[in-house]
Symmetry: C4
Subunit: 130 residues, 4 copies
């Protein structure tokens, strides 16, 4: 379509993270962060993981190439730093100078039949003087 | 990343609340309110619970420490006032002077396999002259 | 908390409606529209139902009292006009002079275990010269 | 209600697409894109499909008539070009000169009981100089 500038937002928040138990067989329970970069420059993304009872883990680095989508399992080492998110409540902040669009999905297999859901991130940039 | 001001919004609305029956075993059916405070000051939050047929319950107090996420079960006493949300339809308004991000999850176990979903709150501050 | 003006939005859109079969026992499959009116005046709401292959059904009237939440089953007669939404794809537009917040939930019981989800409406007022 | 201009947005993003296996019987697992056009002109829509490891597929054409809703199965040939989305991660960008509202639903039947969810698209027009 018509030429356009940058599509997306620079800061995304996901308050409710909680890794489900993986279970014994496929499909394994998990959460995935999915980042779409529809722009013409690679996006260098920084993740911050928040917890209920300790200081956040900052600056986990992920790259999303130009005009690509990238899906990251959150139950595996995250970012170039290979940070392991522990079980229990956590939250995620996603920051990128190149605008992106961010979504999280969770699949739960703790019972005989899976349950899952998805949620678009909440874009917090461009507000309150950010 | 770069220094930033306050991330998040001050007023969040959740129209569709309805506590599921807890069931007899883990995981118990429930709804949870999850609040992320990515900012450097503690957030003093006030909750209002709305009902179909009576006046709202106001000013239930909850604190979310700076740079922490907090998950609250809504089937347990809510806020410092220990308000018990009754079964049936209710809605929630979340207000905080320090901006936060708010999300609700519901887990339903009334049948053999759980079903659940999540929803980001709708941010209503900064609109219509608020 | 502090006094505030009107909270919410005036026009909400729900593209993906499709009444599930009710099934033979409780809980029956259904979709529900939930409207929160946190303001001090009653909200006179108008619903428009869109279809894939015929003209929309307009001006179905619903009232949500001040500071109340109202849940409407969409598989039952809708509005004061008692319109029956037929099975199959439909969409919903919700309009109100008094701002409100709108959410839809769907429960599906066509198999042994229920599946359901929720979605916040998309607020379309205040954009594109509305 | 009162006359209004154009309702909706011109560009919508869906980062997390992944066609579920269809399964052997009804209801077959699938993803559907649902577009509501509440305006008085037909919407000529262009879809772009993004992938993790190759260039995007662009300019798939779809029309949504004025004041109609249209549901498209994403496991069937998409657009007038009849593009087949392959299994695996993909993302979708939806562009239309006439504003619309876009939502995606997924139904998964890989186990005995279905699981499904829905997500409103993220509207990316009107931001960052688009």
């Amino acid at each position: 379509m018509s030429a356009r500038a940058h599509l997306g937002r620079r800061v995304w928040a996901f308050p409710d993270g909680d890794l489900p138990v993986p279970g014994d067989s496929e499909p394994h329970g998990h959460e995935s962060l999915v980042l779409l970069n529809p722009n013409r420059a690679a996006a260098e993304v920084r993740l911050t993981v928040y917890f209920p009872g300790r200081a956040p883990e900052r600056d986990l680095r992920v790259v999303v190439e130009a005009e690509r989508v990238r899906c990251m399992r959150l139950d595996r080492p995250v970012g170039e730093e290979g940070f392991r998110i522990p079980y229990g409540q956590y939250a995620l902040l996603v920051e990128s100078q190149v605008p992106i669009i961010a979504q999280i999905g969770r699949m739960d297999v703790q019972q005989a039949n899976l349950a899952y859901y998805t949620v678009m991130g909440f874009p917090v940039d461009g507000e309150n003087g950010t």
